[in-house]
Subunit: 185 residues, 2 copies
């Protein structure tokens, strides 16, 4: 697939309200929130181990997953929020399909992470109402951005897998299928 990641980045930013101002806000907050991120990652995986559907995917690789997760979490507060960031999130959605993670893991996981981030941000800066508001909406925007990109690629990869499955089951060649599909358009 040939994705224009610059275009996708612009589109996803508009659709999640991730403005330049919000990006600057996240980066300014980096030093305050970063010391708390390992704890947020731990709490997140702790919650996942309590859900039977997710627990089975964690066996024997919890530490590896935590390390990758923490790195991503840190990147939310450092940026840059550019096409490389988008391409990475796009890759993550594809990997979710490849390792057979159900679709709801993305929205569920992001919600649990947001719950944690919100509680920590309010703790840190509730006395400064304007800062609190800016930061919370910036976090909402950047996690929403990540989720949107992941889900677009999850969907694209799922459709590719479905077609592969059909072709295998039917014994039909890709060329024949493509020609027939064109005749139906």
């Amino acid at each position: 697939m040939d994705i224009d990641f610059d275009e996708l980045t612009d589109y996803a930013k508009k659709f999640t309200g991730l403005t330049d101002e919000k990006e600057a806000c996240l980066q300014e907050f980096s030093s305050e929130i970063t010391p708390r991120l390992p704890e947020i990652t731990d709490a997140f995986y702790q919650q996942l181990t309590k859900i039977p559907n997710t627990a089975v995917f964690l066996e024997n690789r919890l530490e590896l997953l935590k390390a990758t997760h923490l790195k991503w979490l840190q990147s939310l507060f450092t940026g840059p929020y550019d096409k490389d960031f988008t391409a990475l999130m796009y890759k993550v959605g594809d990997v979710h399909v490849k390792v057979n993670l159900p679709v709801e893991f993305m929205a569920g996981g992001m919600t649990l992470i947001n719950n944690q981030l919100i509680a920590n941000i309010v703790d840190i800066c509730a006395d400064d109402k304007e800062k609190c508001k800016k930061l919370l909406t910036a976090v909402s925007a950047v996690t929403g951005f990540s989720l949107l990109i992941m889900q677009q690629s999850y969907q694209a990869s799922t459709l590719v897998e479905e077609l592969e499955k059909f072709l295998k089951i039917s014994g039909m060649s890709r060329t024949l299928f493509t020609n027939l599909a064109e005749a139906y358009e």
Copy 2:
């Protein structure tokens, strides 16, 4: 499809942290936030009209969409958060597929709504740090819950549509396809 909506409700609540305490918190806040919800709906659709990909879906039915949206937004603060609420969100995901809305509309839309809700909640209750924290995580949980359910049904409906498309293009009967698929399992 035969969905156990009680089971799905429990699962989605665990995966988004929507606890009894958070539900009570949303309901207690209902009278304070409800007067602001029409403005939030207006701002949401205002943002969507500025994105070319979404604007085309709004033509000639903006008022109808706003009314439905506002009703849903109100329900987030009234409950009940039961299997009927889940069944309704499941229906919404299916409708998204039927009217050809791209997958990213769900995560994007929910992020823009969250941004608005967050700003309003901080405005209303920033002076009470604990209330603010509880409410913001409760809103994160209930919007995450709605998104998770919608996306599960969006995914299920997409797979059904893909199969229909494949059967139509290949000219294969459902029975033959099912029999061949079983042989591959």
